[in-house]
């Protein structure tokens, strides 16, 4: 067994230009260059992407689902942030 395991990387792929990078999965690699090459082989064997980001998983700070209530609660009572909140007559067009 190796003394030190290869770290985990998160892989993000832009499927075509004009679209955002999306998380597609993760993999182990010794360094960023290897992570990039492995990501190419594991996640884009069928031309699934035109650009890849690899990020050490340890660099990601994630919200805690147990605290989702208080984290997202402030947005719940702010219906005025949505266009449907505003009453306008139906005959009005293009607004």
């Amino acid at each position: 067994m190796s003394t030190k395991n290869w770290p985990l990387w998160e892989v993000f792929v832009r499927s075509k230009s004009g679209l955002e990078h999306r998380h597609v999965g993760s993999l182990h690699a010794a360094d960023a260059k290897m992570a990039m090459e492995n990501a190419r082989d594991v996640y884009t064997r069928r031309q699934e992407g035109v650009s890849i980001w690899v990020v050490p998983s340890s660099a990601i700070t994630a919200s805690n689902p147990a605290h989702s209530g208080e984290l997202f609660e402030p947005a719940q009572d702010k219906a005025y942030r949505h266009p449907t909140f505003y009453d306008l007559p139906n005959e009005l067009k293009h607004i």
Binding site: M1, S2, T3, K4, N5, W6, L8, V24, G25, S26, L27, H28, A30, D31, M34, D41, V42, R45, R46, A62, N64, P65, A66
Partner: protein
């Protein structure tokens, strides 16, 4: 404390009943976590061990077209294993622990890969039958409750249909060839049919995990339902090839709208699960040796990465 757990479990079940997925950082019952580690890793191991019987024929593929297709298929299986190992690791177990479980025999993999690939027709039969059976199971699993597993399954299903089509094309070519080639295809079907049916696992009445798995939406159909679905789809495909399914009791049942079929040899099934199949030892030896003989490469890559990092820090510093 236990009241608290009861409440969490109720909320958990309510979430599943409402059709929500469970994600890695969500609270989950310990048994749900353990069941998933067992099931997803078993699936990952199957993809990796599954490369061995097919890899056996890469150098002997009858044409360049067949060879590139088989290479691509085997490479896909490696990719599928990697998606699934990553999904398992989200449950808090390391890659090394997973390998250790495979190599020690603690973790299982699909028994089908403990059968040998004796002729080129076996590569056709595996793609058609083994991948066909796997697809039935995996399509169901795209709707499984654990998010990372479901997402891995979506990717895998997209890739698997090429596997099955390349297998069937091999069978079709053999069946349209000489009598010797057709006999070879029939022989492969004879040997792979029953082990393929066994891939769906024990009958519902004997399956220890089914009830809980259905409740947690880990599985959405039972072993017997999936097996029947496979038979109903596959028998007409065998007829199209002009091959005979090796089951004297196989018969279309007009009333039920399904095929009736003969009894599976469950003794054989349990023997192979317990490690006494024709290739169990060979498969595990191959995996262990790949892991052990690759250790120095993994260490060297890590040492190189550390050194480069030190160099970079020194330059910045």
């Amino acid at each position: 404390m236990s009241l608290n757990i009861d409440r969490l479990e109720q909320e958990f079940q309510a979430k599943i009943d409402a059709g929500h997925n469970i994600e890695p950082k969500d609270w989950m019952p310990e048994k749900y976590r353990k069941t998933h580690i067992r099931q997803i890793s078993q699936h990952a191991h199957s993809e990796i061990v599954g490369m061995l019987p097919e890899g056996n024929w890469i150098t002997r593929a009858p044409s360049l077209r067949r060879k590139v297709a088989l290479l691509a298929k085997v490479q896909d299986e490696a990719g599928h294993g990697l998606y699934l190992y990553s999904a398992t690791e989200t449950l808090g177990i390391s890659r090394d622990e997973l390998f250790e479980q495979l190599h020690s025999g603690k973790a299982k993999y699909s028994s089908i890969f403990n059968y040998p690939t004796l002729s080129w027709a076996d590569i056709g039969a595996i793609g058609w039958l083994v991948d066909g059976a796997a697809i039935i199971n995996q399509v169901m699993l795209t709707r499984t409750s654990y998010g990372p597993y479901a997402r891995a399954m979506v990717r895998i299903c997209k890739e698997e249909s090429f596997h099955q089509r390349q297998g069937y094309e091999i069978m079709l070519t053999l069946c349209r060839g000489t009598q010797v080639q057709k006999d070879m295809a029939q022989d492969a079907l004879n040997r792979w049919w029953w082990p393929s049916l066994m891939m769906f696992g024990p009958r519902d009445a004997e399956s220890t995990h089914t009830e809980q798995s259905m409740k947690w939406k880990i599985k959405r159909k039972t072993n017997d339902e999936l097996r029947q679905q496979f038979i109903d789809i596959t028998v007409p495909q065998a007829e199209f090839l002009g091959l005979t399914v090796p089951d004297a009791d196989l018969k279309w049942n007009e009333e039920s709208g399904h095929y009736d079929f003969g009894e599976i040899d469950w003794d054989e099934f349990w023997q192979v699960v317990k490690g006494n199949g024709p290739c169990n030892k060979e498969r595990l030896d191959a995996r262990r040796s790949a892991y052990e003989n690759g250790a120095w490469v993994r260490e060297a890559a890590m040492a190189y990465a550390d050194k480069q990092e030190q160099k970079r820090l020194a330059e910045v510093g």
